[in-house]
Symmetry: C2
Subunit: 368 residues, 2 copies
């Protein structure tokens, strides 16, 4: 076990005092911001999420705010997804790629106004990408990292907690849609969203000075539902096929090979960065692909890991990108990127774990 060094560069969040009081035991750094990794234990936190409801400090999901006459033009340029019909109040999952079709990020786009967008980002400085593009292309926009800190409420009882806190209207929010809400003087954007498949909302806090107050109000509303503090669960997200940028894909990967082809509209009228590259990749076909693998002979507890894969003859067969033990499935599961020859279900590979070679069998994702 290693200690995390905390300095101002790795920002504390508006909820920091509250999560320390709630017993946070570990952190990682995500978008230059502290992200809690677990409270009771990774597995205990996981079960609260699966069976009930948990509240997460995900301030590290920073917002890249794009405003101005050319805001829609810039956002259109930045993603292969067709966003021409995205309405004010609507959110969309939008891969962001470079001119080679390489993944730069996979944020949620929120359209707050006709000329007003947020990109709720994964762990790269999309702010700099957007600003560089805007400057180079001479677009009339202002781009910043506003005072916005999301908190997620996730799990089968998440809606009940949110309804008690915010009102019954939250039941009518469609997936990724959002609305503004003033919670007793705390300015929020409330969105049906969250980095789990257990359902729930994200509350985007728009005033960092109110973090601890918001945390307490959610805690209070959640008391009767036995809400627990938690954080994005590596176990739950791998079970359910949710990818993590930086682990499961990088700028070296195109959207097609990591299963994001459905978000790329190569026929749309609009030009976007990487259009030509993605058209070529699609025409030529991908050479590797994200698959699931099961490792029947090892039992990794808690924390995830990764390693290289070979086939039975010792030939390179790609790599495991995220790995966990699934308490529900009672086996070790992982994501892997493998050459096309090894993508067939039940293909038997060899994972070069630090502890030695073990069997890895290709499976469908999601696992549950």
């Amino acid at each position: 076990m290693f200690e995390i060094g905390i300095v101002q560069r790795t920002s504390k969040t508006p909820f920091h005092e509250s999560i320390v009081k709630a017993g946070v035991k570990g952190f990682t750094v995500y978008n230059h911001t502290l992200l809690p990794t677990y409270f009771e234990s990774p597995e205990a936190d996981y079960w609260y999420l699966i069976n009930n409801v948990s509240m997460w400090d995900v301030s590290c999901e920073r917002q890249v705010e794009i405003m101005g006459p050319d805001a829609f033009k810039l956002v259109t340029l930045m993603t292969p997804r067709n966003i021409s019909k995205c309405k004010v109040g609507q959110g969309k999952y939008v891969p962001i790629v470079d001119e080679n079709g390489g993944m730069i990020n996979d944020p949620i786009l929120l359209r707050l106004g006709n000329d007003h967008f947020w990109l709720s980002i994964a762990d790269t400085d999309v702010l700099l990408w957007a600003k560089g593009l805007a400057l180079g292309y001479g677009l009339d926009v202002t781009i910043c990292n506003p005072d916005v800190s999301p908190m997620a409420i996730q799990g089968p009882n998440a809606d009940k907690v949110c309804a008690k806190l915010l009102g019954e209207w939250i039941y009518n929010l469609k997936f990724f849609w959002f609305r503004e809400y003033d919670l007793d003087g705390i300015p929020l954007i409330v969105q049906r969203s969250g980095w789990s498949k257990q359902g729930g909302l994200e509350l985007y806090l728009r005033d960092g000075s109110q973090g601890d107050r918001l945390w307490q109000m959610v805690e209070e509303a959640g008391k009767e539902f036995d809400i627990k503090p938690g954080s994005p669960s590596t176990i739950e997200r791998i079970e359910n096929g949710l990818l993590s940028y930086g682990s499961d894909m990088t700028i070296e990967n195109n959207p097609f090979e990591v299963g994001l082809g459905e978000y790329c509209d190569l026929e749309q009228e609009a030009d976007f960065i990487g259009k030509v590259a993605l058209q070529r990749i699609k025409a030529e076909g991908i050479t590797q692909k994200m698959v699931g693998v099961v490792l029947p002979d090892v039992e990794i507890k808690g924390i995830s890991s990764w390693c290289k894969l070979t086939d039975q003859t010792g030939e390179d067969a790609g790599k495991i990108t995220s790995l966990t033990y699934s308490p529900r499935l009672k086996k070790t599961i992982a994501f892997a990127i493998v050459p096309m020859a090894y993508t067939t279900i039940d293909t038997q590979l060899v994972a070069q774990m630090p502890e030695g070679d073990v069997v890895a069998i290709v499976q469908e994702v999601p696992f549950v």
Copy 2:
């Protein structure tokens, strides 16, 4: 004490096995990469650096490689520093600013060839900034994050270790100059550099598979000098006035207010991003400035912290950005950004520490 969660997104370095074997106790994340924070203790590590020699895994200093016919044009555009006379084999400290003059990063530029540059970066994705600019401005360059992992050898005996390992020629390397070197099949760039004021070199490893071998060779060469594993020391760098991007400056700060005005040539012929903004800021004068402060009444051990400042009447007087106890000076010292009214030496302010209000007295930097 909080645990750090390690996943593939927060990359292990080519030296990872070696530093674990050497007894690393903590990490932070810097440029998506694990950076060791201490081995024996922050203070013990500091004394080895001050008195002798230590070896650091600073792979987190990622390189942004810019190559191609327009490489020089792009690099010139990116920094207010006049680099028109930068020679092949030379390095320079180059602030990078946006169109408003806001600090984006403060890397070391290395000119490896006429059309071949590295930016050895602090903790933001300069890769995305450079790529966005290149695309928008239509520049003919290729930009990537190459397989390069720096290791630093720092301290008064660093040169002796490096001379033994690499040869006497290292004594002739001028500050920030570098040369290519093949160390028994390990491809290196060797530069007089390093994030301390204790002197020494950085070895840029150009083949990640050789990390543990290089570590061992440095360890072996350093044995007779009693070399110790270490990492950039918060204590030493604050004592000596070395700023840390993300803590001591952000995109909200211009170079003039954080003491980097000398690196901005506003008279140069070349156009660079932020030129007009910096000319305006210089003409109007800055409104706040980086200063040193001493906190005579508190003794913070080891880890740094930060907080708000007020004047004696309770008026806002800026903030402390980095803070440490100096074992040499036997007092707590810090960097602060304060409004111009409070920049005079010996001005007495109030630091709102978590433990309560304490006296903070403005001092000159460096402290030693």
